[in-house]
Amino acid sequence: MSEDVLFQLNGVSKHFVRGKEEISIFDNLDMSIERGDFLAIMGPSGSGKTTLLNMLGGVDQPSGGEIHFDGSRVDNLRESELTRWRAHNIGFIFQFYNLMPMLNAARNVELPLLLTKLSRAQRRVSVETALALVGLNDRARHMPNQLSGGQQQRVAIARAIVSDPNLILCDEPTGDLDRKTADEILEMLQLLNREHGKTIVMVTHDPEAARYAKRTVHLDKGRFEQREVAA
């Protein structure tokens, strides 16, 4: 395995059992993601995009095959080990932002840092840096319901990067935003990828969004249909 490969999926499959019926989401899927990549995963509803993203993020486990992250196998880790691994390596961005409604923007961004050994002062500096990066330092004390959708998603991005993870996983990050705001968010992800070297995997329905990625893969009926490099 090349040292540049961050994620390596070998023969990964995912099956669900519903009643007596076994439903296959995908079978024997191979894939590799290099450090510094910005990958868009597209595909119709039910094609397994989010399931694949969940498995990359360690919140779902494959029925078969192996997943290696940075040279180590992660699909066979116990739940507690996976939780720790996620906290150290992965930042998540969701379609509906998923901010804690009772915490202000700064506190939301600080959440992943509660899992580190940083002091209160160090955490404050990290939060200010992350919020500055997404241009929301002046909204640090605002509650989520006082922010627009785009601002909430920027807070979510700050939360995803505050602990400086290697990988950012985005599930339809612009699915709930208008075009202009979506473009701002995607530019921000592009910036994180280009300027800060973050590896980004983004699931999207939106071809416009996929254009911001370095490359796009199409998942349909459990297999990658075609591969292309974004313009």
Partner: protein, 385 residues
């Protein structure tokens, strides 16, 4: 920010719901604190009763009298060390609502039987010599501001004075204390002879006898001997230990223990259902947020602890407020009830017991939601929306 901050923020996100939940717990512990303290005060008479003291009452009912001749007969019985006799006077001061625990006693034998009564020798001597003298407890003296030498008019709600009224004049001969702080000093005793000379009915009868035995191990035999010797007479007796007598006296108004258990059980069961349901609902509403926390890397065990801590915190806030309110209620009522319940104090054991119940309530109501949070599958939670 700490986990505690998150717990508090979660707890206070719906202030009205938090207030109502805490209020329900508040009521439960207000009842618990007040009722348990009341029971403690009622039981204190039982706890302080001497092991070697027996009480002889009329078998029909302890309000029925016994002949004075029983005093001498019992005094002569084997195993009896000292015996005294007493009459319930039904006293009150100035106003019938200002009732006093007042008894007519045979002075010398009374002080022998109740040797825990502490009195200055000169006061003791003054009381024994003055037929109109009254011996009053320190607590009663403080309530009314009575001093040695004061003349006090005490009326009876039962007996009539030969002069046509219901009031007897007494002179305060002595003020007694107890040999320990718990001893009830909220009563008054006066000379039986003065009572017999001045009342209009019920002559040569006594209310009951109190005696001490040579040894507590003789109690049963002495009680049997007394009751057997008066069996088939016009005044049959019922002899029991002072503890049993006090308990029976208190339970005239019902089985206090059972009533308290019933009230507390009903209150707690209702609160358990209400708080349990509220906690379950609150956590269910946060399914998505719990899934996000797990996704971010919060361990299941940590989330379990946070949910359980929230439930415990709610129980402690409502419970401690309720217990504090009960304390204020009791302190407020203490002066008014001092004559009948001199030991009306919320004890440390009641507080500890209440805190134990709060923790139990918090654990029981929080356990199921915490287990649900512990087991929550991230993918399922996100799919649920």
């Amino acid at each position: 920010m700490t986990d505690f901050y998150l717990i508090v923020k979660n707890m206070t996100r719906k202030p009205l719901r938090l207030f109502l939940t805490c209020f329900a717990i508040f009521i439960a512990f207000l009842i618990f604190g007040a009722v348990t303290t009341l029971k403690g005060a009622l039981d204190s008479g039982i706890d302080l009763a001497a092991d070697d003291r027996l009480v002889v009452v009329n078998r029909i009912n302890f309000t029925n009298p016994l002949p004075i001749s029983y005093y001498r007969k019992v005094a002569a019985m084997e195993g009896v060390r000292n015996v005294t006799h007493m009459n319930w006077f039904g006293g009150y001061y100035q106003d019938p609502t200002q009732q006093l625990v007042t008894m007519a006693v045979e002075p010398e034998s009374y002080l022998r039987v109740y040797d825990e009564v502490v009195i200055e020798p000169e006061q003791r001597s003054a009381w024994l010599q003055d037929r109109q003298g009254a011996l009053i407890g320190e607590k009663l003296a403080k309530i009314h501001g009575w001093k040695i030498g004061d003349r006090i008019p005490i009326s009876s709600s039962i007996f009539s004075h030969r002069d046509g009224g219901h009031t007897w004049d007494f002179v305060v001969s002595g003020i007694f204390t107890g040999e320990n702080e718990q001893y009830d000093t909220g009563y008054l005793v006066f000379h039986y002879k003065y009572f017999m000379e001045t009342q209009t009915f019920g002559g040569d009868t006594i209310g009951w006898l109190t005696l001490t035995t040579e040894d507590p191990s003789l109690n049963e035999a002495v009680a049997k001997r007394i009751d057997e010797s008066f069996a088939n007479s016009q005044y049959e007796t019922d002899t029991s230990t002072e503890k049993a007598f006090n308990k029976a006296f208190i339970e005239q108004i019902g089985n206090i223990g059972l009533i308290i258990f019933g009230v507390v059980f009903m209150a707690f069961f209702t609160i358990l259902v209400v708080v349990g349901n509220t906690m379950a609902l609150a956590i269910r509403e946060r399914t998505g947020e719990i899934a996000v926390l797990k996704t971010l890397g919060f361990s299941s065990a940590r989330i379990f602890r946070m949910v359980l801590s929230e439930s415990l915190l709610v129980a402690l806030i409502g419970g401690l407020a309720g217990l504090a309110a009960a304390w204020f209620l009791i302190e407020g009522a203490k002066a008014a009830m001092a004559r009948f319940l001199p030991n009306l104090v919320m004890g440390g054991d009641t507080v500890l017991q209440a805190i134990g119940f709060m923790l139990l309530l918090g654990l029981i109501t929080g356990l199921l939601p915490a287990i649900n949070a512990l087991r929550l599958n991230i993918v399922t939670a996100f799919n649920r929306g």
